[in-house]
């Protein structure tokens, strides 16, 4: 299968008064055609910034993509001219945000907002764009599409608005859809519907999805491939089944243990002890070492690198380094 997007050694820093925050630190990942890749991690682990870097949303001088390559369609997105990048956005890569309520312009009708990218990228005229917009609204499972097209965002519910966001995102048949916590602001039943829809759309159009979430339930539901991030670095990645059945990294193990299990009563839900390290105080060490049950001497002094373990699974942990184990 062909890679749709290849991110190589991406590092994005934010500059604060106290120093540089390495929000994304040497992250490499690829999404293949028709594949759903999920990036999981807790708040502040750099998963959203990865997506923002791909879309060119990191605003200088506050933040900067310091190094790396983002290959899309044989082109490096980071070195594209502003105008070329604009034609990639919306047309080839689309993005959905977490808050559907605030991602739509409150003073424009739904229809107009769906029509805009169509007129911009597909060179449709107003009439064609409106027809297509109504088709799209129907496609995302909303009835009375013509009335909805004429209504304003505040007149619709959050679930409906997220469907509209998806309609806008898929309007130009993008090759890649980046969804940044698309279901976090919605309740569980709507969440399931939205995920179903994304899966359906993916199956119909062979689109790839890069989904960012902190919800392992969502991952289990939709992912083909999972990437676990911690403090700006990838700590483990692998096919969803392998990773869920046989998590290698203590952090992934902890995450999976802290998930409630259906039909089982637990006195107290497991939680990983400790806190995410302050991104300003990161030293050369495994960033997870002070929360890790298996912490060894080397973990406190050396950063582990990502290595293959089995199949497509990779892990960045000294536990799986045979040489070290004998030390």
């Amino acid at each position: 299968m062909k890679n749709v997007i290849e991110i190589d050694h991406l590092s994005t820093y934010f500059y604060t008064e106290e120093g540089a925050v390495k929000a994304v630190n040497d992250v490499s990942l690829r999404v293949r055609e028709g594949e759903t890749v999920c990036i999981v991690g807790e708040s502040g682990c750099g998963k959203s910034v990865t997506a923002m870097s791909v879309m060119g949303l990191v605003e200088e001088p506050a933040g900067k993509v310091v190094e790396g390559k983002i290959q899309f369609d044989g082109r490096d997105l980071l070195s594209l001219h502003k105008n070329e990048l604009r034609h990639v956005r919306g047309n080839d890569i689309a993005m959905i945000f977490q808050e559907p309520m605030s991602s739509l312009n409150p003073v424009l009708t739904i229809g107009k907002q769906i029509m805009e990218p169509l007129m911009e990228h597909q060179r449709m005229n107003k009439k064609q764009a409106r027809m297509r917009a109504i088709e799209l609204i129907e496609m995302v499972g909303i009835s009375r599409p013509e009335q909805i097209a004429d209504s304003y965002p505040h007149q619709l519910s959050g679930g409906m608005l997220q469907r509209i966001m998806i309609a806008i995102a898929i309007s130009c048949n993008p090759k890649l859809l980046i969804a940044d916590e698309p279901t976090t602001a919605l309740d569980v039943t709507i969440q399931a519907q939205i995920l179903d829809m994304l899966r359906q759309i993916k199956a119909d159009s062979n689109m790839s999805i890069l989904l960012i979430t902190h919800d392992l339930g969502v991952v289990a539901e939709i992912a083909d491939y999972v990437i676990v991030m911690y403090s700006g670095k990838i700590v483990e990645e692998g096919d969803v089944v392998e990773l869920f059945e046989n998590p290698k990294h203590p952090y992934t193990q902890g995450l999976l243990r802290s998930k409630p299990i259906m039909g089982e009563r637990q006195e107290e839900l497991y939680s990983i002890p400790g806190q995410v390290p302050n991104p300003l105080e990161l030293k050369e060490s495994c960033y997870f070492h002070d929360r890790c049950e298996h912490c060894m001497a080397i973990c406190q002094t050396k950063l582990p690198y990502l290595r293959d373990v089995a199949g497509r699974q990779k892990v960045a942990c000294w536990l799986y380094e045979e040489v070290v184990e004998h030390v």
Partner: protein, 310 residues
């Protein structure tokens, strides 16, 4: 059969519940405005004034402004409701004709300064950096110099250059908008800066929309309510400035009448004491019109921009 009819009524009821969706934002605002009695009375007065000034002279037997030496400075009577001036012209007719000019100048200069101010303010906020610096420093410069002296200097220059009286009206419009845009540009810029950071603007970037679409289709519609309010209020200001200029003989010049140059009669001690019908009517016209516009503008603000309520 019964089940079919049942489902039909159900969908009908469903549709009835959602039909009033369209443009309900504006409709709601209109509804609230109608309930605001003070604002509505201001609005009715403005409409009355516009009708009187633009249609009134058509019904006047004195619309040709013929000089009548036999009937100079006549006091109000049934024939001349507001008397005649020193050339025997009907004051009421001239008042209405003056209203045409004053209102036109007010509205036109408001339009120009709103368009100029909002485009420049929006562009400054959107592009920031050097563009912002240039536009805003020019605006700051204009704001540091009091408006009236600039207008006086420009008016004096116009007289010096002997601009024909029929063109002066248009030049006065431009002068007033030249003074008016910086304040507006600042206001628009500050609003735009906050809109720029809203999440839907990020969504617009991600959709790959071009700058023109982002600016004019996404950002400016968000400040339309504010623009309407400010525009309305600034008509009053423009009418006042025009009157001041014309009163000093630096704006629109006679024989073209404006409310300002009609009050000029009050400069003459004899007219001031003996012929109050020459200067009281234009004074009252300016006063009431500006008050009505301000009341209406305030009402509009309450309706369109509830957050700004004191």
């Amino acid at each position: 059969m019964s089940s079919i009819s049942g489902s039909v009524t159900k969908t009908e009821a469903h549709q009835a519940a959602v039909t009033p969706i369209r443009s309900s934002l504006w409709r709601q605002a209109l509804h609230r405005l109608r309930k605001n009695k003070l604002a509505m009375s201001g609005f009715i007065f403005i409409v009355f004034m516009l009708l009187a000034c633009f249609a009134g002279p058509l019904f006047s037997p004195y619309a040709d402004n013929k000089i009548n030496p036999a009937n100079m400075n006549a006091a109000p009577s049934l024939k001349h409701w507001l008397g005649t001036d020193m050339l025997g012209r009907d004051v009421l007719t001239r008042l209405l004709q003056a209203g045409r000019i004053s209102l036109t100048v007010g509205i036109a200069s408001m339009c120009i300064s709103v368009i100029l101010g909002s485009i420049l303010g929006a562009v400054a906020a959107y592009y920031r950096g050097i563009v912002d610096q240039i536009i805003m420093r020019v605006a700051d410069l204009l704001l540091t110099i009091p408006g009236l002296p600039i207008l006086f200097i420009m008016g004096a220059l116009l007289s010096e250059w002997k601009i024909p009286s029929e063109y002066r009206m248009y030049i006065v419009m431009l002068m007033l908008s030249f003074i008016g845009w910086p304040g507006l540009a600042r206001l628009v810029r500050s609003q735009m800066l906050s809109i720029r950071e809203r999440e839907f603007m990020q969504a617009a970037i991600v959709l790959g929309l071009n700058d023109r679409r982002k600016l004019f289709n996404h950002m400016i519609p968000n400040i339309i309510p504010l623009l309407i309010v400010v525009a309305t209020l600034s008509i009053g200001g423009a009418i006042l400035s025009e009157s001041v200029l014309s009163f000093f003989g630096l704006g629109v010049m006679p024989p073209t009448p404006t409310w300002g140059n009609m009050i000029d009669a009050a400069n003459n001690l004899i007219d001031f004491e003996k012929h109050p019908w020459l200067w009281i009517p234009p004074g009252v016209a300016i006063f009431t019109t500006v008050i009505a516009i301000n009341i209406f503008g305030d009402g509009l603000r309450d309706v369109l921009d509830p957050k700004q309520k004191k």
